[in-house]
């Protein structure tokens, strides 16, 4: 089964993905609203998996919603909360219900989230989860046993192009590709010159790269990310630009900045697509796309 996202990746068109966060609780209205709004505008949407180690409705449930509503889900899976039995089982379940795109993540420490005393599992990590997917596809599980019916996936991973130091990160990036990553969604990028030099390096690998673009909503939010999120560097001129927005206009400015960056990346053909993260403001994704002159 080749997913529509995989077909889009192979088509060579400029790919657009975005993020949808499942709710904290079982009120699915807002999530359903976001899915309805975005499903026909983007090539696929990522369902976050207890993002930042904050317990929420599961990504698998969110991915199923997207599927049932006629959209194309990318199931995010971290290795923080499940051992290899649970991860493989969930992959089988996903495939059986038509979910064929998976983004493999190691996952943040539980200490960063809202259940700080929980046990972090990390039985596998991102590159081993990718390899596990390729093993399941061959009809075997990680214990070497035969499967009765094997799944098929389009598997991806992430990279932080501005990690410091960068060299160990790039070795990991290459291992993820070796393990079977077909696409990469990057951590948020703000400095296009640095990203271009990363892409010069990354182009040599047979993998599609979707640049991560985060919607800046205020200057304090940008400063907070610089301070607290590894590998995210919002340059001072961008912070100044958003700080100078008229009162109540910071978000509009953020949309303009994100749109401008995407437009440049698209026009200069810097990478294969964009992954828009409008953290908590998913309803603004169409506005960002409009600001970038993108239509799907």
């Amino acid at each position: 089964m080749i997913s529509s996202f995989k077909k889009a990746l192979d088509s060579g068109k400029f790919i657009i993905t975005c993020e949808v966060a499942p709710p904290k609780g079982i009120n699915l209205e807002k999530t359903a609203h976001h899915i309805e709004l975005l499903k026909d505008k983007v090539d696929a949407m990522n369902l976050t998996d207890h993002q930042s180690s904050v317990m929420r409705y599961p990504s698998l449930g969110g991915a199923l919603m997207v599927k049932e509503m006629g959209g194309e889900p990318i199931l995010q899976m971290t290795c923080r909360d499940r051992n290899r039995l649970a991860l493989q089982g969930d992959l089988l379940f996903a495939a059986s219900r038509g979910i064929h795109n998976v983004l493999c993540l190691t996952g943040d420490s539980v200490m960063l989230g809202d259940h700080k005393t929980a046990k972090g599992v990390f039985d596998l990590e991102s590159s081993q989860l990718l390899a596990a997917i390729r093993t399941l596809e061959k009809g075997k599980d990680l214990g070497g046993n035969d499967l009765d019916g094997s799944p098929a996936f389009c598997a991806g991973a992430i990279v932080t192009p501005e990690a410091n130091p960068i060299e160990p990160q790039l070795i990991k990036f290459e291992k993820k590709i070796e393990a079977g990553a077909e696409f990469i969604q990057t951590q948020a990028v703000f400095d296009l010159d640095k990203f271009k030099s990363f892409m010069e390096y990354a182009r040599q690998f047979p993998v599609k790269i979707l640049v991560g673009i985060i919607l800046l909503t205020s200057a304090p939010m940008a400063r907070f990310m610089n301070k607290n999120i590894a590998g995210v560097n919002v340059p001072q001129p961008l912070i100044d630009e958003i700080a100078q927005a008229p009162k109540g206009g910071a978000i509009a400015k953020g949309i303009k900045i994100a749109g401008r960056m995407i437009k440049t990346i698209h026009a200069e053909n810097i990478c294969d697509g964009v992954h828009i993260m409008a953290i908590g403001k998913e309803e603004l994704v169409p506005d960002i796309m409009a600001a970038a002159d993108l239509t799907s």
């Binding site: 190691t106 972090g120 990690a163 410091n164 070795i171 590894a230 590998g231």
Partner: protein
């Protein structure tokens, strides 16, 4: 030398554990907890003061040389009179010592410390965890630095995305193990070993509780 590294439990927790137990015998240790200032003679004396102030009766106290040693029971025998008068033993040693004493004396014990890790003193007054005894040692491929222990997530294929300026995502005072390993392997000209995709770890080195016998052949 490897050491058992401990930190004091809060007084509130100790008070809760001692609730209803009024006659107390305190045991410290002259080895690791003396080094970490958590259960040597000064700390035992200070604990006695705290207990007396809160209205408890201290039937006696002792700092044994090596609490986890099997000889501890003989040393404690000399204090048997005072120990027998006590409702409970408040033990200011690591949990090896607490369990040694509890198995020898068959008396109610309350640990006064939390045992954090087995580590070593890496600089004066600083203790680091170096090995968590995982049972399947992999440091032959990581330049002799243990990612199972030094990486917060025990990752074996390189850094997670949380590395920040060479530090770990959970604590900017802790080095990211994978920055250390990268630098070491680079120095050694062995980065190839970091490029090798490692399979899932074997967690079955020795199932907990570990047990090992010298084979009689």
């Amino acid at each position: 030398m490897i050491r058992s590294i401990t930190k004091p439990k809060s007084i509130e927790e100790i008070e809760r554990l001692l609730d209803g137990l009024n006659r107390i015998f305190i045991i410290g240790c002259g080895t690791c907890v003396t080094l970490t200032h958590t259960g040597g003679a000064p700390e035992v004396a200070a604990m006695k003061e705290i207990l007396l102030e809160s209205g408890k009766l201290v039937t006696g106290q002792i700092v044994v040389p090596v609490a986890c040693d099997n000889l501890t029971s003989e040393i404690l025998n000399e204090e048997m009179g005072k120990i027998e008068q006590a409702d409970v033993l408040l033990i200011m040693t690591c949990a090896f010592g607490v369990q040694t004493v509890s198995s020898q004396l068959k008396k109610m014990v309350v640990p006064a410390l939390d045992t954090l890790f087995i580590g070593k003193e890496t600089a004066y007054g600083q203790f680091n965890e170096i090995c968590t005894q995982c049972g399947t040692c992999i440091i032959g491929e990581t330049g002799g630095i243990c990612p199972v222990t030094n990486c917060h997530k025990g990752l074996v294929n390189g850094p997670c995305g949380g590395t920040n300026q060479g530090k770990c995502e959970i604590d900017s005072n802790k080095d990211c193990a994978w920055t250390l390993i990268y630098n070491r392997l680079m120095e050694l000209g062995r980065l190839d070993s970091m490029r090798k995709l490692q399979g899932p770890r074997n967690f079955l080195g020795e199932p907990t509780p570990g047990k090992y016998e010298i084979s009689k052949s």
